[in-house]
Symmetry: C2
Subunit: 345 residues, 2 copies
């Protein structure tokens, strides 16, 4: 899998070779207003003749309506099955562009050029594509691998500190579920990373190893869901409240705290390990204010998460720092308690 993932500052120079070798009939680049202004200028010199499709940025536009617009434009451009869609952007562009390509005429090619840290270390690996449906995250989608992924750390310079922190949450998650030493080493560095390239490479390799072992999430891949049961529910809940919206990683940071706490309650994690995780995450992420009413509703939303069988909420918990266990049944009431723990931090 990782042989289709290119990482490095000069990586975009490989793109013309790939596009030429595959003899694609047409090249189309999907952008939003931000990546058009800030990232497209870096990409453009490496592309042959191509056309652009532009959509509006933001999770609130990861909808069927936007997909309809993309398909309409693809149809107008007369794209055939040998066309390629280059998705230039964060997770929204990558997930939605991947989905649009995967189902247009039952599948055209696509290439991912992730521009946020989050998309580079998470969405870039594993073939998940999708869109939000009636407020439910990635409710509609398919598994489909891109032709290639080009990860250029230079794009990170276009990010706000808030976006960078959001992506960092998935990096931290990879340490917590798979590499205790790296967590120990990095928790003193905090967010003051000078060289992202190695961290990205390390993170991508952890995710790739997990996904290769279980591509369709039959079991083991669920370890990647650590922080996501509570995190996704929180994110979905606040998606409806524009003034309180969180970035994905901000929600996952809260989710990791809640689920680390649940890991202690389930006798899988020691209290002092939770303390370390707490200290680290709190030093980076701003506190999210939650009222009792919020907590109740978020917990109910967690039940609708797509990884659950209808009977129980299956959660991924930590068995010590650096190891995760999946399919741990957790009750709605326990989710409520974990969110109360968080809101009292």
């Amino acid at each position: 899998m990782t042989d289709t993932i290119y990482i490095g500052k000069d990586v975009l120079k490989e793109l013309p070779e790939l596009l030429k070798n595959r003899a694609f009939s047409k090249v189309v680049v999907l952008v939003d207003e931000n990546t058009l202004a800030q990232c497209y200028p870096l990409l453009k010199p490496n592309l042959p003749e191509h056309e652009l499709i532009q959509v509006r940025s933001g999770e609130e536009n990861k909808t069927l309506q936007t997909c309809e617009h993309i398909w309409q434009r693809m149809t107008e451009m007369n794209l055939d099955r040998w066309s390629v869609l280059v998705n230039l952007g964060g997770g929204v562009i990558g997930d939605m562009g991947g989905f649009c390509a995967a189902v247009f005429k039952r599948g055209i090619y696509f290439v991912q050029v992730p521009t946020t840290l989050l998309a580079q270390v998470d969405a870039s690996v594993g073939g998940k594509t999708g869109l939000d449906f009636h407020g439910l995250k990635n409710h509609i989608g398919v598994y489909k691998e891109p032709q290639a992924v080009f990860i250029n750390p230079a794009f990170l310079e276009t990010l706000s500190p808030r976006q960078l922190k959001s992506g960092y949450a998935e990096v931290i998650k990879h340490w917590l579920i798979a590499d205790a030493d790296k967590f120990k080493e990095q928790r003193h560095v905090g967010l003051f990373v000078e060289e992202w390239e190695d961290l990205i490479r390390h993170s991508v390799s952890i995710k790739a190893k997990v996904v290769e072992a279980d591509p369709l999430e039959g079991g083991y891949r669920k370890v990647l869901n650590f922080g996501h049961t509570v995190g996704h529910a929180l994110e979905s809940y606040l998606l409806e409240k524009p003034e309180r919206q969180l970035l994905h990683g901000e929600a996952i940071a809260v989710g990791m705290l809640c689920e680390a706490w649940l890991s202690v309650k389930h006798d899988l994690l020691q209290q002092q390990e939770l303390d370390k995780i707490e200290t680290f995450l709190i030093s980076i992420y701003e506190k999210v204010q939650l009222r009792e009413e919020d907590i109740q509703q978020i917990s109910l939303l967690a039940l609708q998460d797509k990884k659950n069988s209808s009977a129980a909420i299956n959660c991924t918990l930590l068995k010590g720092i650096g190891q995760a266990v999946y399919d741990q049944p957790v009750t709605v009431q326990e989710i409520v308690s974990s969110l109360r723990y968080y809101s009292l931090l």
Copy 2:
């Protein structure tokens, strides 16, 4: 592949066993108003506890809007990844239900129970799912195999003669592309078939053999497109004209005549073979009236067909009765000529 296709009058009795063995968490049946009234009573005694989703019948409802309705109902029913959707109906229900299942939460299970001859011999095999987009047939879709297909010839008794003839076109197509002897034998029978079960089994086995050799339509599978370049374009064109709409097989019958004529022009088929095909098809299918303006527009639509690279119209032609060759480049002008031939028959 054929080991998941069950054919016969008692076939629905196998369904409870399958549903039990796979331990699906929920069973949902997708119907339209016709299959609810005429087919569901036969299916119901063989099902465990289940729920229904109903959509309106007809190709004009094979849209993203209908899919949205289906996903909304699936969400309300709290379906999880271990649920199964049983698609009870013709090609529209099977294609659209298959697509909705394939992308809901990145894929739940589905079972096909085709109730028309067309769906039994064609849509039931090969894993194509999809919907129409802005008048373009199956423009959005994925390849995904169902868990099982249950073909009960008893459902054919619920069909109008017009619907039966529509499905028969795909049966005839299978003979034309793969079995000259069967064509010779059956062209004296015409539509007066007494025992459908064997014909269905024969047709399904031809299609299954082709699909197994080339599941993703990289090449050889395209032989199944005989009649479909012109046929699809004609069908799409008349879809927008409610008073002139054709059933799929009716359009394919026209397409087969046009493309057999093109096969003669390309020195692949002999004139006397074309005569035999003509005589047979004309005895079954009513003439479709086409004006010069219609012919021009249908030919342009053929260019938009998803099997074409943008440069040429790739057509499947007959190399004698019983054998097909794919990727034969044909010009828009040749399509025009073939439709003129048809309209002068």
